[in-house]
C-alpha cells in the first residue's frame, strides 16, 4: 500500500543497490556481519572496516554534491587531499622519537585551512573568471600534487607521533574509529545547514537556471564561491583522514583518483551531473556502496590490480539499474508480457 511511495523515493534505488551488495557479501563472505571486540575494547569486523574506509570518501562526496548541483564539477579534490596530507604531516614532522614539531591541533587547522584556500582558488576561477569548471579545477588537479611534493620536499613523510593515528584509528577508551564520527559530524553539519539556511535552494536554482537566478536577485558568483570553498574544506578534512590511515604523507598516491570515486558516489546517489536537484543522503550511500564493493573484492581474494575491472562492471550494473531509459524499457517489456494490460489502466485514468 505504501510500496509506491517507498519505491518513488529518491533514496530507494541507491539503498537497493547497497543492500544488494551487502546481501551478496552475507552469502559469499564468511563472517561478514560478525562484529567482535578486541581486548582493549575496540570493535572490529568487516562492517566497521567499510565505514572506517569509506569515511573520507563520504566527506569528499558531500562537497562534490553541492558542486555538481550547481552544474559544475571539482576534479581537483584528489590533489587537494594530497596537499592537506602533506601539510599536516610536514607540520607534525617525521621525527623518529614520536615527538610532534608543532602542536597537532595547529597542524590540523592548517591542513583544513589550506583545503579551503584551494577551494577558494577554484571558486575564484569559476565564479569570477568564468572559466569552465572542468578546466578550472584541472589546473589544481595537475598542479596540486606538485605543490604537495614541494611541501614534503619529495619525501614520503612518515609520522610517528602517536595521537596522529587516532584520527583514522580508535582513541583509547572509544569503541569505534574516530573518522566514522568525523564523517557523521560532517553529514550532520550539512544536514543542519540545509535545514536552517537557504543555501540548498540557491544551489539548486543556480544549477537549474543560472540566468534566471541572477534575475531573481541571487548572487550567482557568491553561491559558486561558497560551493567550491566548501568542496575544498571537505577535501582538507578528507586529507587528514587519508594521511592518518597510513600515518604518512605520500604526495603521489594520497587521494589518487578519489575525485572520480567522489563523482561516482554523487552519481550513484541520484544527483544528475547536469545539476539541479541533489541528494545528500544518496551521495553518502553512494560512497559507502563504492567502499563496500572494494572491500568485497578484497574479501573474495581478487588481486588489487584487477580491482578496477570488477569495479567497472559493478558500476555499469548499478548505473543501468538507475537509468530512467532502462527502467522504461523494463516497464514496456513487462507491459508486453501482460498483453498491454498496463496500457488500459492509463486509459481509464
Amino acid at each position: 500500500m505504501n510500496w509506491k511511495r517507498i519505491t518513488s523515493s529518491s533514496l530507494f534505488l541507491p539503498l537497493l543497490a547497497l543492500f544488494a551488495l551487502l546481501l551478496f557479501n552475507v552469502i559469499f563472505v564468511d563472517g561478514f556481519l560478525s562484529i567482535q571486540m578486541t581486548e582493549d575494547g575496540r570493535l572490529y569486523g568487516r562492517l566497521i572496516d567499510i565505514l572506517n574506509r569509506s569515511s573520507s570518501l563520504i566527506v569528499l562526496s558531500l562537497g562534490m554534491t553541492f558542486v555538481i548541483a550547481t552544474s559544475g564539477i571539482d576534479i581537483s579534490v584528489g590533489a587537494v587531499v594530497a596537499i592537506s596530507a602533506a601539510v599536516v604531516c610536514t607540520l607534525i614532522g617525521g621525527r623518529g622519537d614520536g615527538v610532534a614539531e608543532h602542536p597537532m591541533a595547529l597542524a590540523i587547522l592548517a591542513a583544513v585551512a589550506i583545503g579551503v584556500l584551494c577551494g577558494i582558488w577554484n571558486g575564484f576561477l569559476v565564479a569570477r573568471l568564468k572559466i569552465q569548471a572542468v578546466v578550472a579545477t584541472l589546473i589544481l588537479m595537475t598542479a596540486g600534487r606538485g605543490i604537495a611534493q614541494l611541501l614534503t620536499a619529495g619525501q614520503i613523510i612518515t609520522v610517528y607521533y602517536k595521537p596522529f593515528s587516532y584520527i583514522s584509528g580508535t582513541i583509547p577508551g572509544n569503541v569505534l574509529p574516530t573518522n566514522i564520527f568525523i564523517a557523521a559530524a560532517m553529514v550532520l553539519l550539512v544536514g543542519f545547514i540545509m535545514k536552517k539556511t537557504s543555501i540548498g535552494l540557491f544551489v539548486q536554482a543556480v544549477g537549474i537556471n543560472a540566468t534566471a537566478s541572477k534575475y531573481a536577485g541571487i548572487s550567482v558568483s557568491l553561491v559558486l564561491f561558497v560551493v567550491y570553498a566548501f568542496s575544498g574544506f571537505c577535501a582538507g578534512v578528507s586529507g587528514l583522514i587519508e594521511s592518518s590511515l597510513i600515518r604518512a604523507a605520500d604526495a603521489n598516491n594520497a587521494g589518487l583518483n578519489m575525485e572520480m570515486d567522489a563523482i561516482l558516489a554523487v552519481a550513484l546517489g541520484g544527483t544528475l551531473l547536469s545539476g539541479g536537484k541533489f541528494y545528500i543522503g544518496g551521495s553518502v550511500i553512494g560512497a559507502i556502496t563504492i567502499q563496500t564493493l572494494t572491500t568485497t573484492m578484497y574479501a573474495l581474494g581478487i588481486a588489487s590490480d584487477q580491482l578496477p575491472v570488477i569495479k567497472a562492471i559493478a558500476v555499469v550494473v548499478l548505473c543501468l539499474i538507475q537509468s530512467k531509459k532502462c527502467q522504461a524499457l523494463v516497464a514496456s517489456w513487462k507491459e508486453n508480457r501482460h498483453g498491454g494490460s498496463a496500457g488500459k489502466t492509463v486509459e481509464k485514468a
Binding site: S198, I208, A212, A216, V346
Partner: protein
Amino acid sequence: MEQVLLEMRQIDKLFPGVRALSKVDFTLRAGEIHSLMGENGAGKSTLVKVLTGVYPRDGGTIRLNGHEIAPRTPKEAQEYGISTVYQEVNLCANLSVAENIYIGREPKKHGFIDWKTMNERAVTLLKRLHITIDVTKTLDHYSVAIQQMIAIARAVDVSARILILDEPTSSLDEQETQRLFAIVRELKAQGMGIIFISHFLEQVYALCDRVTVLRNGELIGSYEVAHLSRLELIAKMIGKNLSAVQEMDQTEEKSQPSADVFLAAKDIGCTGSLVDVDLAIHKSEVVGLAGLLGSGRTETAELLFGIHSITKGEIDINGKKLNISDPMTAMRKKIAFCPEDRKVSGIIGDLSVRDNIILAMQAKDGMLKHIPYARQAEIADEFIRLLQIKVSDREQLVKNLSGGNQQKVIIARWLATQPELLILDEPTRGIDVGTKSEIQKMAVQLAKQRGMAVVFISSEMDEMTRTCTKLVVMKDRRKVAELMDDEVNSENVMKAIAGGEKE
C-alpha cells in the same frame, strides 16, 4: 476548390492521466495557409507533434495525398515532405549559413564536401526567398529574423509539400514579420500547404485563409478566416459566449499618476546599448516603453534593475541618487523586474511553484535567513489564489505549467517582495487571450490600488495604449518621443518612430 493535401482523422493522443487530443480532425489543402488556434494546452503543439512523428498517436489516421502515412520520427516526416520551423531557431550558430542549410546532405565530389556547389546552391535558394546575404559567414552574424528565414529556406529545400510554422514571429519585429509573411505567401503561391501557429490574432487575420480551433484537446471547428470575426474566434477559443468576451474586452479605467516621482533617470546611457535616456516614473503611474524590438526598451529596463550598470547619467530614487550596480541594489529599493524571456531568465523549471514564488523574497533576505516552510507555503498559496494560478498543488514543478501560468508565477515572485516599482517586459508574449487581459488589468489595478509605479513593455501596441497613461517611444537606442494622456495612441507612436527616420 484546391486539392486536399493532408487529412488527419479522429486523432487521439493520451498522456498518463490526460487526454491531450480526442478525435481531432484536421484538413489542409494545397496552396492554403491554415492557422491552428487555441489557448495554451488546447492541443495545438500536440497535434503538430503527432503529425511530425515526435509523439506516436493513440488512434486515428493521417493521409497525405490520399495515402495513409505513419511517420515515427521527424526525419521520416521530412521524407514524406513535412517540415517544421520551431519558435526557437534550431540551427547551429557556429556553422555557416550554407552549412546550416545543407547539414547532413552536403553535396559531395570525390567523397569530399563540395564547398563551391554548396555555397552556390545556398545563394540560389535564398535568392528565391529574396534574401541576399553572405552564406559563408556563420549564422550568428545574422539577426533572429534572418535566421528564422534561413530555417524556412532549409525546410523548403528539404521538402516542399507541407511547412509547419510554430510561433515563427514571436521574436520578430513588425518589419521582419512582414518580410516573413511575404515569403510565406510566395510559398503558398507555389502550392505548398502551410500550417501557421501563432498567438497574435492580427497576424492570423493578415495571413491565413482558414483557421482550425482546438480547445482542451477537442476540435471546435474549422472556419474561413474572412467569415469569422475576432471576437467570435476568441469566444470559440476560450469557450465562452460572445457577450462574456465583449465584457472581458472592456478595459479597466486607467490609473491616475500621483505627483510624487518614484524614479527619475537623467540622461542615462550604457555604451553599446543605450544613449541618453530621460525618464520620470511617478507613483501610481503606468508608463509604457514602446518601440521596435532592439530599440532599447529592454535595455532601459535592465539598466533600471541593475542587470547592467549605467556608464553615463544618474538614477534618482525618491529624490536620492543611487548607484544600481546589481539586481540586489535595485531590489532593496523595492524595484521588481519580470524579464522578457520567461524560459531563459524567468522560471527555474525544475523547482516547485512554491520555490519559484518565494525565490526573490528569499534572495532579498539572504542565504542565512531561511523563510520557514510553513510561511513559504502560506505565501505561495496566497498568490496562487490571488492571481488565480492554475496548479495541481504548490509543489508542482513550474516547468509543467502553461506559459500564462508560468508568467503569473514570475509576477507572484515579484509581488511577494512588495515592490514600489514593477517592470513588466513583454508580460503577455506567447500566452493566451484570457490571461493576457487578466495581466493587463492587473497592471492597472496595482497602480490604482497599491500606488505602485508600473513600467509596461510590449510589442503589441493596443495593449500599451489600453494600459498606459504615458508612453515613452524608443528608437535606435534613443528616446524619440514621450506621449502623455490623450496623445497615447498607436498612430502617434508610429509617427514618432517614422519621424525619427527622416532626420
